[in-house]
Symmetry: C2
Subunit: 299 residues, 2 copies
């Protein structure tokens, strides 16, 4: 009952990006890729593909990709019996990110515009995405993103909002990227609550991953209450919904959070690298562009 009562006033917060036609073959590709990580049993993977193929006809175009993501990864968990297929890879990415963390701190020491540099570092961490086809090279890509022109950069308003913000939420995305997020959280120098997925989905950061990333040393951590690889306000835990209501600044990392909040009228800033043509088109940028974009709240 509580969920229904609370979800109503939030209905305007979510007029999200829809599922484009290009997303549909990609759903099957993601099922295959993660199915293979979860199990070597071809018959089980085939069953996952059958289930997701069968779901397509009943998946509304008005829904968003992370809603199918939620179905895909639940299907994979149910059929493989593996709760967290990317567990080992997530641990590796967190370790690799922790290993270069001192060099990220060093970059900050020498930065002129510390906040913008921290934002670039946080976006650089967004290359660690195992839901995508693209491979990545942490050190080389980091260097590139630190010098890459930002296709959208609402930094002035971000700075203005940050100064007056009292309740700041930070919506985490991938494990490993979570280590990079620490740089931005520290640079903001304000109390922050870091939001993680309630259950493992893709390589998204969970509570345990956030702890392993050292987030607990600089921010409170709260789970979304959902296993969606995005943030659907009306499906979040009542506790998080209350926090969202109070927040005067929300930092949204990555594609999944963007897809679920793209048309929100919450005070959100989206930080992401546009890693697929669909997102890039929707944002009006090029593939691989990096973005700091304010939400319609500020329009």
């Amino acid at each position: 009952m509580l969920r229904i009562l609370i979800s109503e006033p939030y209905s305007n917060y979510n007029k999200p990006m829809r599922t484009y036609l290009d997303c549909i073959p990609c759903f099957l590709k993601q099922t295959l890729n993660t199915g293979r990580i979860a199990t070597p049993d071809e018959a089980k993977i085939r069953k996952m593909l059958d289930v997701i193929g069968d779901q397509i006809k009943s998946f509304p175009t008005s829904a968003t990709p992370p809603e199918m993501g939620q179905i895909i990864y639940k299907t994979i968990r149910d059929i493989s019996g593996v709760d967290d297929p990317y567990k080992a890879q997530k641990a590796v990415h967190i370790q690799q990110s922790l290993a270069i963390f001192p060099s990220l701190q060093d970059i900050m020491t020498h930065a002129d515009d510390k906040l913008l540099t921290a934002i670039r570092i946080a976006i650089a961490g967004n290359i660690i995405d195992l839901g995508m086809e693209k491979s990545f090279d942490l050190k080389n890509d980091l260097d590139k993103i630190l010098h890459q022109k930002m296709a959208i950069c609402d930094i002035q308003n971000f700075k203005s909002q940050l100064i007056k913000a009292n309740v700041i939420l930070y919506l985490g995305d991938n494990s490993g990227e979570s280590v990079f997020d620490r740089i931005l959280i520290e640079a903001m120098n304000k109390p922050v609550t870091y939001v993680v997925r309630d259950k493992p989905v893709i390589n998204d950061v969970t509570y345990a991953d956030a702890i392993a990333s050292g987030i607990d040393s600089i921010a409170d951590i709260i789970t979304s209450g959902s296993d969606a690889p995005g943030t659907f306000v009306d499906r979040c835990s009542p506790e998080l919904q209350q926090l969202i209501k109070k927040a005067d600044l929300i930092i949204s990392k990555g594609q999944g959070n963007f897809e679920s909040l793209s048309e929100t009228i919450l005070p959100v800033f989206f930080l992401l690298k546009a890693k697929c043509p669909v997102i890039a088109n929707h944002l009006g940028v090029l593939e691989d562009d990096i973005v700091l974009k304010q939400s319609n709240f500020f329009a």
Copy 2:
């Protein structure tokens, strides 16, 4: 009745390549790509994706990709009302191929091993494939393939078989490639029957496309009696089945024909470029390798 009676003795001719897990997302991608060529109506394309997604669970792994290809392209025709989505592109590719035909003849004039050169030219034509994601550049790719090492090259046996062959079938693949096929047919210097698809499917060569390619000047043309983008002997017309029975040399162009005949014990030589990782793996070669491979008939 006739079909059932005839199909039985051929049952051993077809133990074909199966559908691999990687093929399944690719089915949806092909549906999307060709759907967009057939119609700008997103709702119709979405319907096509729904139908093919729904088909996955009932598509046996033991079936071959061209069998799903047949379903995909029939679905696209039925929903879009467009009988031949690639009609315009096929015409362009035939024209482009006819334009470079004199230069192909010129290459032949200067060739030391005329038959092997003609085989390379015929394989080069196989780059014209609109069912694949890959783009191609006719002139550059031709030059590359003429000098590329063949990953499998059963040329000695091909020459031996050709000398004694009386009934030769040539299974065509793509439109445009059909112009390149003329070079090999001429070089063989024997009566040849050229087999085309009965109905438009992908950009595969139909009767009209073969005529436009000038095949009629050097070979008889017969349709397969099927709209499959491959050659399933027991689904071919009775007339073609009789010819297949009599043939002592069958040249099979491209992936679709290979996929449907890979384990055949008919006297087939497969000429193709391995354009996807699945085919390459199945053949034990690398992606983009070129192949002249004899069938198990000669094993």
